[in-house]
């Protein structure tokens, strides 16, 4: 379980990205983090595994305060947190298998990782994960040979290879088409349910978020302005998060997406 206490982040330029964020995510819950661009969604996620250094506050994962760890203990704790990125962030010139196994780097000594001689149970688990995300036959392809949806599934397998206790997901669907986006969200929610994994999912697409997450947190200008069940996310709530005009446009857009998806399904196109 993750507990964030009055977390703040001020960039060196003086921009206040996050102000006094408190949030608690219990086991197995998927939280959708929504808000306009620049609201601090990415910063919040990156503060948790310290890709961005928080300025103030505590981040408790279990008993350890992630905000106050030195280099070596931080690496140890990072193994417990899987991260999935917007543009997949796979190492393009390595194979799919190497990318998945790179999720084990925190557990193996350097010589093993350098010679690519991972332990049998790590290799077996990597194959099992590739099977789970439906990419078993692509294991030895180079990552840059895959399509967007496939790459994101490799990203998911890499995060799961860490055997994480928490998933951080940064805009998993932003570079994907509507149909693939839904498939990826479905896969993520299924996997979290299977493993009782808590997850924080940064997401632009509000209707998509409401469809898949159990709780929505709205950020605006670095502050939590909404926290509740997706069903309670009405027009007033959206206006506090995004401002008044944007909501209608978004509803329209989502209807367009749905139409596009059903049109695709009709002509039998898909990935």
């Amino acid at each position: 379980m993750l507990q964030i206490d009055s977390l703040s982040k001020t960039y060196r330029t003086g921009d206040k990205a996050l102000t006094d964020i408190s949030l608690s995510v219990p086991k197995g819950q998927i939280v959708g983090l929504i808000g306009p661009s620049g609201a601090g969604k990415s910063t919040l996620i990156r503060c948790i595994n310290r890709l961005v250094e928080p300025t103030e506050g505590r981040i408790l994962l279990g008993d350890s305060d992630l905000a106050r760890l030195g280099k070596r203990p931080l690496r140890r704790q990072r193994r417990r947190i899987g991260m999935i990125f917007q543009e997949y962030a796979l190492v393009e010139r390595l194979t799919v298998m190497e990318n998945v196994l790179s999720g084990r780097l925190g557990y193996v000594p350097f010589w093993r990782s350098c010679l690519r001689r991972f332990e049998p149970h790590d290799v077996r688990r990597a194959y099992a994960l590739l099977d789970r995300v439906g990419l078993l036959q692509h294991a030895d392809k180079r990552a840059d040979a895959l399509s967007g949806g496939q790459r994101q599934r490799v990203g998911i397998a890499r995060a799961l290879a860490q055997e994480p206790e928490l998933l951080l997901v940064d805009e998993p669907t932003a570079s994907l088409d509507p149909k693939t986006s839904r498939q990826i969200m479905r896969l993520l929610t299924e996997i979290c349910a299977e493993r009782k994994l808590p997850a924080i999912v940064n997401i632009h697409d509000v209707p998509l978020a409401c469809q898949f997450v159990q709780r929505v947190v709205g950020l605006s200008a670095g502050k939590v302005v909404f926290d509740g069940d997706p069903s309670t996310l009405d027009e007033t709530a959206l206006s506090t998060i995004y401002g008044a005009d944007d909501w209608h446009a978004m509803q329209q857009e989502s209807r367009d997406d749905d139409e596009a998806e059903s049109a695709l399904r009709l002509v039998g196109v898909g990935t």
């Binding site: 595994n49 890709l51 690496r75 140890r76 704790q77 990072r78 193994r79 947190i81 899987g82 991260m83 990125f85 543009e87 962030a89 796979l90 190492v91 393009e92 010139r93 390595l94 190497e98 790179s102 999720g103 084990r104 780097l105 925190g106 557990y107 350097f110 990782s113 350098c114 990203g155 890499r158 860490q162």
Partner: protein
């Protein structure tokens, strides 16, 4: 759309002031050229220049036909030259790789102390021509192949180091971020996220430098560092022009072949 608005019909990519400045810059450049031409020709003895075609014809006629029978004698020094180039390139690369990682802003362990040292090594190596390196090394370790190899290696450090550290600084940081987020140590991040991104550039740089070094090593014999340059110098010393032609043809052939090989290799790895 608003209609019936009067839009201007004149547009220029730069405002008038800037245009004037550009015009003046060109004027200055032309003036500089005229001045330099004057300085250059001041000490020229025109009688010699007017004589030049005749002199060229004279040497040219003595240079043909090349002495083909000289070829077998050249093969061994040519092999030496190729060895100087290849071993020198390898030595240079071995030394350049750590320097490049120390010099790149995103991989250097200390930007304050080690990075300037690495940059200095790169600049020092690049600023001295390999012929001068060879001249120094022949004095230090004596004439022969070894001096040539070390000269080529020392000259290559700067070239390979500079291009490689620029490649390291231009990598995609998201991949690095992703690997460090798994809890990998910094050597593992280097191994999994940085090295795979620079491998193609690295090979291309190495092959390119090898190609340059073949050309440079042909001349090193002039200062006693072994290879085909030795033969060139001794032939010039005794005014054996047909032999000089033979050597020049052989060098030309070697360079063409090495260019072809390096082009093939580069295409194969990218």
């Amino acid at each position: 759309m608003s209609e019936m608005t009067h839009y201007r019909e004149v547009w220029a990519p730069r405002p008038p002031r800037t245009r004037l400045m550009v015009w003046f810059a060109w004027l200055l450049l032309v003036a500089l050229f005229v001045y330099c031409w004057q300085v250059m020709t001041e000490n020229t003895i025109w009688a010699f220049v007017s004589d030049a075609p005749r002199q060229a014809m004279d040497i040219g006629s003595r240079m043909v036909p090349p002495r083909w029978g000289y070829l077998p004698e050249l093969l061994e020094p040519l092999w030496d030259t190729l060895n100087i180039a290849t071993l020198g390139t390898l030595g240079g690369i071995v030394m350049a790789v750590p320097v490049a990682f120390l010099a790149a802003r995103n991989t250097t362990p200390s930007a304050r102390f080690l990075r300037p040292v690495a940059l200095f090594i790169i600049v020092a190596s690049r600023s001295i021509n390999s012929l001068i390196w060879a001249l120094l090394l022949v004095a230090i370790i004596g004439p022969g192949l070894l001096a040539g190899i070390v000269a080529i290696a020392l000259r290559s450090i700067g070239f390979v180091g500079k291009l490689l550290y620029e490649a390291i600084e231009e990598i995609d940081t998201k991949q690095v971020e992703a690997v460090s987020a798994t809890g990998a140590s910094s050597v593992q991040v280097l191994n999994y996220a940085i090295v795979p991104q620079i491998v193609p550039t690295f090979i291309a740089i190495g092959v390119f430098r090898w190609d340059i070094n073949i050309r440079e090593s042909t001349i090193l014999g002039l200062v006693g560092a072994g290879g085909i340059g030795l033969k060139l110098q001794s032939s010039i010393n005794v005014l054996a022009w047909p032999q000089v032609t033979m050597i020049l043809l052989l060098i030309l052939g070697t360079v063409v072949v090495s260019e072809w090989v390096s082009a093939k290799l580069r295409r194969a790895v990218i």
